[in-house]
Amino acid sequence: MPDVRLVNVTKRFGKIVAINNVSLHIKDKEYFSLLGPSGCGKTTLLRLIAGLIQPDKGEIYIGGKLVNDVPPEDRDVGFVFQTFALFPHMNAWDNVIYGPRVKGFDMEKASTIGHEVLEMVRLHERLDAFPNELSGGMMQRIAVARALAAGAKLLLLDEPLGQLDAKVRNELRYEIRKMTNDLELTAIHVTHDQSEAMAISDRIAVMRKGKVLQVGTPKELYMSPQNIFVAHFIGESNFLEGYVLKITSKGALIELRGGVKVEIASKDVKIGEKIVLAVRPEAFIIEKGITRRGENIVLGIVERVTFEGTDIRYEVRLKNQDLIVVVKPSLTGEWFNTGDKVVVKFPPENVHLFAYPEKGLREEIAVE
């Protein structure tokens, strides 16, 4: 069964280290996403698994078998390209049965497979159409059908939805997910769209500059990011700089800029250490008022209100001059206007604490 294991894989292009000593294990029948900004190495990693390029160092196993020297045609993978790569001189049908044909299946068997996969992607009526006669969504479906028809149990998808408009993209991502579930395939999906990865993946590997920063379920990545970049890239976070003032019975007392003090649950810090707090915009509690006292409360003024449909987004200037973003559901709770004076509460259990990065916060969260 096709689980995929990468052991200390490194790939260089000239002086650029595209993949830097990456180790990963993708389980059988798992829907796994490689997520990261452009140029982080996720497509390179996928192409290494497919055998389209060779690693400089490390081992790649598919189904327990070392495949470093196995050419792509013998790895038994289905690859869906970002540009679909449908052969322009063949119609949809010939594209779909290309795999069975080049593998030497008899025509009857190839034809049965072709009809099955076209049924699955609901494009039977367009089998005579050439790629330039199909819409983006149809081309994408044919590309998936072609990869499935080759009989692979490992499906590699390189930003398969990247060229489609938002509506079609949303529909197709669930279709692909359902198909891989029904066929019990292992799928590795490359994307830079975190909402896409969160919506369909069993697990996600977040990559940056050729390295895997964290692997986990969408919930784990969102709720427990292990570093500043993941906290920034998955969802949205407010980052506030400060120092550890003292260790308390509940955790640690942090002093932010301007003498603002908040207490957080984490104890894994030293007194005097420079730290960064990461708080999700929806984790803040916000109320109207100017004098309310209590733990972890900071005063502020609403500077901008943006209505986003399901949510309302507030930009609040805290009294220490830090600007934070607070998101609240639009249909429940109190609404605020620009200029309103508010109190913002930091919930200790939903604040993530990280050591201040050596190269500075800006560099740490940069996506390019």
């Binding site: 052969f87 322009p88 072609r146």
Partner: protein
């Protein structure tokens, strides 16, 4: 950027539609008047003379055999070029060794060696006792049809390699990678996907090789011996009958030229119409057989054969002339040559004429070809007329140059009684080289998104300003490439030169020397050194042009 008053004035003028259309119309009129119609009308004018050959059965048969030979050889050579050129282009673009860039450069050499020098070089290599024949008794390949095939293969091979390399570089690798991940071994992926997708370029390469083979005259005359193809027949008619039986001479060359032009156009039309419909056998696959041919041993054998063919049949024979040229340097020949003694006086005059002509024709082509390129690329006169112009621009490419020269001479001599010889020569070279610049520039302009032009206009640029600031900087490389092609083609041209004038360009002198060699003057060293100079100057000019082009961006 400060603009001069003249520039501003020209920019302003260009925004008047009437002015721009006058420029375009002038370009079209010049194209019809100097390039397209004279060769066609030349034959029409001499239509009556064709009667002479119809009454002379033996000459008629001889001409038909020669014409048949032309097309048979062209077909065979073009097919061989494609068969041998594809693996070489593949090796250059897909190979991993850094030496392949050297191979890439070397494969251009026969392209830039003037064909007259190339012809003599091949003659020495294959037929002379000092060449490869030294290993055998007598000459390995005597002048005749085999040597003609070897010659035509040598000079058209780089054209095919260049076109296929370009197509493979532009080709989206993802198609082939998709094929590999679907289970196709490399050879099968190349056959069923890559070659099918680059089919238009393969057809273009075949047409170019075919046209070059049908057209070549000077070098073919050197190696043909008693064998005749169309251009050699026309030239032989001139030698045999131009003074003794002028009517038969004119009739025979008018007939041969007409048939060569008509069949060339017909074949070109057929290939252009039916080529795109030609289906590659992509549905049949032989998995285990193609797998065996795809890996290590088979690939090594394929690459070895490709390299051997290139070095032994193309490169070495092309450069063999350097040997007598070097030997000549250590004899009296060099001082004689440098002082312009004896036959060398005529040589230097011809060389000067060749380069003067090449430079002049290049400048003229830029002036009249640029507007035409824009008309074709931007469909200035509507889709259909522009497509028709696009097609007609190609005509001089596929018409044998000696036939074109013959018709041009008929036309200008009949219509203008006192047309100077030099003007005839310029017209002939202009007609032959015209497509090279227009083709290169129209393709380059077509690649530039119309959005860029429109953005420039909305920012306030006048049409000429758009050309100066957007089109020209983005197409500079193609303009230089087109200019290089025009220049080298003009300097190499022999057939049309022989047909239109008695003025001698350098290749004509070399051809004459080779023909006269049997009489003892000039000597082998003279011819070798003559070719060597031609080669050397061509390299220097190309090097200068390359240095100018170097660093000019391909955006």
């Amino acid at each position: 950027m400060a603009q001069s008053t003249v520039t501003r004035m020209l920019d302003k003028l260009s925004s008047r539609k009437a002015v721009m259309y006058s420029v375009y119309l002038t370009a079209i009129i010049v194209f019809f008047a100097l390039v397209l119609l004279p060769p066609i009308l030349g034959i029409v004018i001499k239509w009556g003379a064709i009667q002479e050959i119809l009454n002379n059965k033996s000459i008629m048969e001889r001409s038909l055999t020669a014409i048949k030979n032309s097309f048979l050889i062209a077909f065979f050579v073009a097919a061989m070029d494609v068969v041998a050129g594809i693996p070489m282009a593949w090796l250059i673009t897909r190979g991993k060794s850094r030496w392949l860039s050297v191979l890439d450069t070397l494969s251009d050499i026969p392209f830039i060696v003037p064909t007259a020098a190339l012809g003599y070089s091949l003659l020495l290599f294959w037929s002379d006792p000092r060449g490869i024949s030294a290993m055998f008794e007598g000459s390995l390949v005597s002048p005749g049809w085999v040597l003609v095939i070897l010659l035509h293969f040598t000079f058209s091979y780089p054209v095919v390699v260049r076109v296929v390399v370009g197509a493979l570089l532009d080709y989206k690798m993802e198609y082939e990678q998709a094929s590999r991940t679907l289970g196709a071994p490399p050879l099968m992926a190349a056959r069923t996907v890559t070659l099918s997708i680059i089919k238009p370029s393969l057809i273009a390469a075949f047409i170019l090789a075919f046209a070059r083979s049908v057209s070549e005259t000077g070098a073919t005359m050197m190696v043909a011996g008693f064998f005749e193809n169309g251009p050699v027949f026309i030239q032989n008619m001139k030698t045999e009958f131009s003074t003794t039986n002028p009517a038969l001479y004119e009739g025979s060359i008018a007939f041969a030229s007409f048939v060569l032009i008509a069949i060339s156009c017909l074949i070109f039309g057929i290939i252009r119409s039916f080529g795109p419909r030609l289906k590659m056998p992509v549905r049949r696959v032989w998995p285990s057989f193609e797998r065996k041919l795809s890996y290590s041993k088979a690939a090594f054998t394929r690459n070895s054969i490709t390299s051997i063919v290139f070095f032994a049949i193309v490169l070495l024979p092309s450069l063999f002339v350097a040997l007598p040229a070097l030997e000549a340097v250590f004899t009296e020949t060099l001082p004689n040559a440098l002082s312009g003694t004896g036959i060398w006086e005529e040589y230097w005059q011809s060389l000067t004429l060749s380069y003067f002509l090449g430079a002049l024709v290049t400048v003229l082509n830029i002036l009249i070809g640029l507007p035409m390129a824009i008309i074709v690329a931007r469909r200035k006169f509507g889709v259909l007329p522009s497509a028709l112009l696009d097609l007609l621009v190609n005509v001089p490419l596929i018409v044998p140059s000696i036939a074109l020269g013959v018709s041009l001479r008929f036309f200008w001599k009949e219509t203008m009684t006192t047309v100077p010889e030099i003007l005839l020569l310029i017209f002939a070279h202009l007609a032959i080289t015209y497509p090279y610049l227009v083709r290169a520039m129209s393709a380059a302009v077509e690649r530039i998104s119309l959005d860029l032009e429109e953005a420039s206009r909305t920012l306030g640029a006048k049409p000429l300003g758009v050309f100066r600031t957007i089109i020209f900087p983005l197409t500079k490389y193609s303009l230089f490439s087109g200019a290089i092609m025009v220049f080298t083609r003009s300097v190499s041209e022999t057939g049309a030169t022989l047909a239109v004038t008695t003025l001698k360009t350098a290749p004509v002198v070399i051809v004459e020397w080779v023909k006269q060699k049997m009489q003892g003057v000039p000597l082998e060293f003279d011819i070798g050194l003559g070719c060597g100079f031609l080669l050397l100057f061509s390299f220097i000019v190309l090097l200068i042009l390359r240095l100018i082009v170097k660093g000019e961006g391909r955006y």
